[in-house]
């Protein structure tokens, strides 16, 4: 029963804090644009409003895709350690989380293209290409971390950091690369080509009416929650639950601030950028790790 | 008794000139008779026959031992099959003459006599190569053959002047003792002549035009029968009588000839010329193995020679009669063609594989890696074009003007023999020991000049 409680705890945290932080993010963006911005609970209202509307479905593959997407991301969420609060101690292997994460992405991709709208296919093709871009330097940097600590369990790395300091200070370049890739993962401004509202009518989400939009927004929140919590766990060390949320907020606000002021990369520029600057930095990081820094 | 093998075909050849039709029927009967005589004389092998009871040194002698017996049986069997298969009777008489000359060539133990028989074979093969009005090709063959045979004569004269006698055993023994250097030059001269017939590239430039002219008869007669007899003479001369190597330049030219003729075959667009180049390549492989002068290698070379001759027989017969056939509606011929072409390439369950397998095993035991690699590379190239042609014929969609696929097929007799030889290849493929023991015996016999000489010296003469 303890496991079920812990899982429920993780999910509720993700739901509640995910949406509140998104609300705070929108407020920060508004403040940057010298606007008041919506109340902090605006995202709750948006999600619940979409869930009450009467939408359309494009057949069983569309429904299955949306449910598989949300289900996959929820499954990934349960394995992610929030500071020292872990649903399955020991089982949170980094590669399992990254690849279980792709179940959600594949489900969403399949569902959206299942609608039959070419905007969605173009959006998904861009999303996958962008993923090819940011995933390689990200995994290189993280594996250099794993190689350094000789374990691929995130919770053990969290404990190590609570002992001898945050990784962000020991691997600054690695943290920088990971943050740039995080920006791509979150789909925030500089790398927003896959869901560009102006160019391809919000990409994959073009045919999402009412509740499907709500479920996908929930999934997007959970995805962001997973991505940022991995970053926080690996680079900003341990500490209890509330410290974790505080660090999560700072990282989130920092990402939002960058996204609020930058225009959007073209997709091949994004991949070209990812495979030159961050990959080079990742290599420097690897060299330092292997050289026993 | 053994002289009948030469006398009967020769006599009947000239007897039947007036009655042209009859020759067509006599040919198979004569060859059958040869075979019967041959097998009748099997028990007392290893005997010299002196013509006109002149002693060996002076007169002309025939030497009938196991090596001669097996080569004769193979040549005559192939001749029997050819005689049954050919449909145009124009060449019956030259074939009879050629049969006599071939038997003579294998049996004779006399230099000048072998030159005479060689000349007769050459002339008859010029005539046969004019099939399908291939005048230019046979004329080039005539030029090559004529010029080359002069060297054989000079060689024989050297042997006679130095050795005092034309008998192979005596003269090579005497010259071997007194002046081995001369023996080597004589062998070089003999080699130049024989290499023309053995289709090694620089000398065999005439082969593609003659073999590739599309007739069923020429390539089979020249390819399988005459080449085998020439291999016998070449191995007898270079292995038994002389026990040093030919100058290494010959060895390298033969190696180059293997690879270059394979490349030539790879380039060809016409199946006939491809098969011509292929037979040049395989014959050069046999010659290269003979030149290594090691007994195990020579025995495997002979094994490879016999299986290759059979396979070439099938390929040339099918090509001669059908051209680039469409096997979709000639299934049995197709299967025979594929079996023999795969055996040519060395696919496991066929005889060709064991030919290459034993050859490579022997070469590796003798640490002769160069020839092994050349054989492997040549098989690789051969594999490429043989597969191309096999697939081309199995999956060809030849629509005639009437739209449906014309279904031409081999007549029954030819199809029977083609299938028979393909099955022989399969049987040898499953039980290679049958042929291997015989070729080991041949190789062993070819190498001991001692036994050959004792039989002659024991008989008479000095």
């Amino acid at each position: 029963m303890a496991v079920a409680a812990r899982v429920a705890g993780v999910l509720l945290t993700a739901f509640f804090f995910g949406l509140t932080f998104e609300g705070i993010g929108r407020k920060v963006t508004a403040r940057i644009q010298k606007r008041y911005g919506p109340p902090w609970y605006q995202n709750f209202i948006d999600v619940l409003k979409t869930l009450t509307k009467h939408g359309w479905t494009h057949g069983w593959i569309f429904d299955f895709g949306v449910v598989m997407a949300l289900g996959g991301v929820i499954a990934t969420l349960t394995f992610v350690p929030l500071g020292n609060f872990v649903a399955f101690p020991g089982l949170d292997n980094f590669f399992v989380i990254v690849y279980l994460f792709t179940v959600g992405a594949l489900g969403m991709a399949m569902g959206m293209v299942g609608t039959g709208n070419p905007w969605a296919s173009i959006g998904v093709a861009r999303a996958l290409t962008l993923m090819l871009g940011y995933e390689v330097p990200y995994l290189i940097v993280i594996t250099s971390l794993l190689y350094n600590f000789k374990t691929s369990n995130i919770s053990t790395i969290v404990e190590i950091q609570s002992v001898n300091g945050w990784n962000i200070f020991r691997f600054p370049i690695g943290a920088l690369v990971a943050f740039i890739c995080l920006q791509g993962m979150l789909g925030k401004e500089p790398f927003e080509a896959p869901i560009a509202p102006a160019e391809i009518a919000s990409g994959p989400m073009v045919e999402l009416s009412a509740k499907y939009m709500g479920l996908l927004m929930l999934m997007n929140t959970f995805m962001e929650f997973v991505e940022i919590s991995i970053f926080v766990d690996l680079f900003l060390g341990g500490g209890n639950y509330f410290e974790f949320l505080l660090k999560y907020l700072t990282v989130w606000i920092f990402a939002i601030m960058i996204s609020a002021v930058l225009p959007r990369f073209r997709i091949e520029q994004a991949v070209y950028f990812y495979w030159t600057v961050p990959l080079l930095l990742a290599f420097i990081q690897v060299f330092l790790v292997v050289a026993g820094m | 008794m053994i002289t009948l093998l030469i006398a009967v075909p020769l006599a009947l050849a000239f007897a039947t000139i007036p009655l042209r039709k009859l020759a067509r029927l006599i040919l198979p009967v004569v060859v059958l008779a040869n075979l019967v005589i041959l097998f009748a004389l099997k028990p007392h092998v290893g005997k010299i026959i002196e013509l006109g009871s002149w002693p060996a040194v002076y007169g002309i002698t025939l030497f009938f031992d196991e090596v001669a017996f097996y080569f004769l049986s193979f040549v005559n069997m192939m001749f029997l099959v050819i005689s049954l298969i050919t449909r145009d009777e124009r060449f019956s008489i030259p074939l009879l003459v050629m049969n006599a000359a071939l038997n003579g060539l294998i049996l004779t133990a006399d230099f000048f006599n072998s030159f005479v028989f060689l000349e007769i074979i050459a002339i008859t093969s010029y005539i046969i190569s004019t099939d399908k009005d291939n005048a230019l090709g046979s004329f080039k063959y005539l030029i090559f053959g004529g010029v080359a045979s002069i060297f054989y004569l000079i060689g024989a004269v050297f042997m006679y002047v130095q050795g005092g006698t034309l008998n192979m055993a005596y003269s090579s023994y005497i010259i071997g003792m007194s002046n081995p250097e001369l023996m080597k030059t004589a062998l070089v001269l003999f080699a130049i002549t024989l290499l023309v017939e053995l289709k090694v590239l620089p000398f065999g430039l005439w082969v593609p035009d003659v073999y590739g002219n599309g007739s069923a008869l020429t390539p089979v007669v020249l390819g399988s029968v005459v080449s085998t007899a020439t291999v016998y003479l070449f191995s007898r001369l270079s292995l038994t009588f002389v026990d040093e190597h030919l100058p290494p330049v010959f060895y390298y030219t033969v190696l180059a000839s293997i690879v270059l003729s394979q490349l030539g075959a790879l380039y060809q667009k016409n199946l006939g010329r491809t098969l011509a180049f292929a037979s040049m390549a395989s014959m050069s492989t046999v010659v290269a193995s003979l030149l290594t002068r090691q007994e195990s290698v020579v025995s495997t070379a002979l094994f490879y020679l016999f299986t290759d001759a059979l396979a070439k027989f099938v390929l040339f017969t099918v090509y001669g009669n059908l051209g680039v056939a469409n096997f979709r509606n000639a299934k049995t011929t197709g299967i025979a063609f594929t079996f023999s072409s795969l055996s040519l390439v060395g696919v496991p369950i066929f005889a060709g594989f064991w030919g290459k397998y034993y050859l490579l095993k022997a070469l590796f035991e003798q640490e002769n890696y160069v020839l092994a690699i050349v054989v492997l590379v040549s098989t690789l190239i051969e594999l490429a074009y043989v597969t191309k042609w096999n697939i081309e014929q199995w999956f060809a969609k030849k629509e005639t003007t009437k739209g449906e696929i014309e279904n031409i097929d081999l007549p029954f007799v030819q199809k029977l023999f083609v299938l028979l030889s393909a099955l022989i290849l399969l049987v040898i493929g499953l039980f290679p020991q049958l042929l291997l023991d015989k070729t080991n015996l041949l190789a062993e016999k070819l190498f001991d000049f001692q036994l050959y000489r004792d039989i002659f010296f024991g008989k008479g003469g000095m």
């Binding site: 939408g55 593959i61 349960t78 089982l91 279980l100 792709t102 290189i140 | -």
Partner: protein, 602 residues
């Protein structure tokens, strides 16, 4: 073992004769043979030696048993699918006979450690499969010739090494050779091992010799490319696995980097390049079968990296990936065969929206690509996870780059047919396409169940892998039930599956309590206000990753290099042909010159 082989060989003749009466009998016989062989083989304990027609050459290693059982699964799925599919073939009798012969050949290869017998069965398989390749498309003829020649390069190198070893040790038995291999001088060891591995590399389509894969798998008869890619490629991986484990590679060759000896390092680099080539070329392909052919090149690279690591986790990862890729490739090619059976084309941009007409085929393809791309609930992920763990623990970061590009790239290229063929707008031409008959659906569904089952309970496959590792002295991979343990960390397939189900349940509950969406037809799309009349064009499939392909558009193509090499050889042949067809007077002149030289030279 001997009677399995004999049954298969006799079966092929029987297959030919019976299918003369009724063409569907052939696949049924193949099915019976493979089921019989599976049952018999399951009982035979590994390390048993038997004689075959009098020569005691057959020796069943655990590795051989594992590969044989895997190939029998692939062949039985192929046979069931063929029962109905055989109708589309013009020459079914030869097809049946030769496919049974191919099975016999592959089983022969797995059952022996005697080099010559291995070579014989190897050639038997190559030539049996050769004649099947050109049976459907006419331009497959050239592909077949390429297939044989490149595979022959490998097998002749293997033959060369076999005879070299025979001339040194006078035995063909691999186990005995490996025992006293170290006596040979260093260069000879290098020559022998490299030439033997070339056979494996040529057959499994690894980098330098992968050129034939695209054409052969792309143009072979549809179901046979499932066997080609799922099973025959695995013969190459089997040979590599056998050689790397039997030969004492770690002691023979000096240590190079990250606990890996120099030979394995070269193999790993070959694997890397083939992953990169396979992935980038697969992303470009528009023909779906050629796309999966290039994914086979990439996955053979994975297997090679896994095997070359030769440690507890990496070797097990390589072997497990053999299982995953075989099953996944078969599933994908069978689903393509079903698509082609109904629509007749393999071009992605000519198809679209087939999910609405062929749901079962879609599900097979979906689970196939989930396993091929290595996504958790299916077995594909386990092997990739093992290889990642081993690479990370050794700190081989450059290899990791290629491996990550390969695994992420696999999402891209498997998604292209998914979006182009199955999802998107349904072309009006295929409006009334029906699902494939039941018999064709059975193997597809079976393979789906196998993939998901072994994804959650990999125990049985791991048992074989651990057996193979123990047999060759590599310390075995540890696992308890469904928990996979490595030095770097562990995870539990069962808990991941349960949590995936729980997540799916939560999402489903959320989906059900909210108001139900109204089903709208495929044509009711947001078209930014435009009125569309021809929805066939409203489908994004051709040049799917145009923006990515432009980045590496003008890449060097190895195929053209090999083609120009062959043309160079042919031009050499043309030179000979030129020499041959000179006039007689030219010959006389040259003969005179030679005579002069001889005379003067003498």
């Amino acid at each position: 073992m001997q009677n399995i082989l004999l049954v298969a060989i006799i079966g092929s003749v029987a297959g030919y004769l019976l299918s003369l009466f009724y063409r569907r009998l052939g696949p049924i016989i193949l099915l019976l043979i493979s089921l019989y062989a599976f049952a018999m083989l399951w009982e035979i304990p590994s390390n048993t030696a038997e004689n075959f027609l009098g020569y005691d050459v057959l020796y069943l290693t655990t590795l051989g048993k594992y590969f044989a059982l895997l190939s029998l699964i692939v062949f039985s799925a192929y046979a069931i699918f063929n029962i109905v599919w055989i109708e589309t073939l013009k020459t079914p009798h030869a097809f049946n006979a030769l496919s049974i012969l191919t099975l016999a050949g592959t089983l022969g290869v797995f059952f022996t450690t005697n080099l010559v017998v291995l070579y014989i069965f190897w050639e038997l398989t190559v030539f049996a499969s050769l004649f099947i390749v050109p049976m459907s498309k006419s331009e497959a003829k050239r592909a077949a010739v390429w297939y044989v020649t490149i595979t022959a390069i490998g097998s002749f190198a293997f033959l060369f090494a076999t005879f070299l070893l025979y001339s040194k040790f006078y035995t063909f038995d691999l186990v005995e050779i490996s025992r006293n291999l170290s006596q040979l001088p260093k260069p000879t060891i290098w020559l022998v091992v490299c030439s033997m591995l070339t056979a494996g590399i040529a057959k499994s389509g690894v980098f330098p010799l992968h050129v034939w894969l695209r054409n052969v798998h792309g143009k072979a008869p549809d179901t046979f490319s499932a066997v080609l890619s799922g099973q025959l490629v695995k013969m190459g991986s089997y040979l590599i696995a056998l050689l790397l484990s039997i030969f004492p590679v770690t002691t023979l060759f000096p240590h190079f980097y990250g606990g890996v000896n120099i030979l394995s390092y070269i193999l790993i680099w070959l694997g890397n390049v083939s992953i990169l080539v396979g992935t980038l070329m697969a992303i470009k392909q528009n023909d779906m079968k050629m796309l999966i052919a290039f994914s086979t090149v990439a996955n053979s690279g994975y297997i090679l990296i896994g095997l070359a690591l030769l440690d507890q986790v990496g070797f097990a990862g390589g072997l497990f990936h053999v299982f995953n890729h075989a099953i996944a490739a078969t599933m994908i090619f069978l689903s393509f065969a079903a698509v082609v059976y109904r629509t007749g084309t393999t071009k992605i941009d000519e198809l679209g929206g087939l999910i609405h007409r062929m749901p079962v085929t879609f599900i097979t393809y979906l689970v196939g690509i989930i396993s091929l791309a290595g996504i958790p609930p299916t077995s594909g992920f386990i092997s990739k996870w093992m290889i990642f763990q081993s690479l990370v623990s050794r700190g081989m970061f450059v290899t990791e780059i290629f491996v990550f590009v390969g695994s992420i790239g696999s999402f891209l290229y498997v998604f292209r047919p998914l979006a182009g063929v199955f999802l998107g707008q349904l072309k009006s031409k295929y409006k009334d396409v029906r699902e494939v008959p039941i018999i064709m659906q059975i193997p597809m569904i079976l393979l789906v169940l196998v993939t998901v089952f072994f994804g959650v309970f990999p125990g049985q496959v791991l048992e074989f892998i651990v057996g193979a590792q123990k047999e060759f002295g590599i310390d075995a991979f540890q696992y308890e039930g469904t928990k996979l343990i490595t030095s770097m960390g562990y995870w539990d397939t069962w808990i991941v599956f349960v949590m995936f189900a729980v997540g799916f349940l939560i999402a489903a509950v959320l989906y059900l309590i909210t108001p139900k969406g109204k089903k709208i037809p495929l044509e009711d799309q947001y078209t930014s206000g435009e009125f569309l009349h021809n929805f066939d064009l409203y489908h994004y499939a051709s040049r799917f990753y145009a923006f990515l392909e432009r980045e590496y558009g003008d890449h060097p193509s190895l195929e053209n290099l090999y083609a120009s090499l062959v043309n160079a050889l042919k031009s050499l042949g043309k030179g000979i042909d030129y020499l041959v067809s000179r006039t007689a007077s030219a010959y006389v002149f040259w003969l005179g010159v030679i005579l002069l030289l001889l005379w003067k030279g003498w």
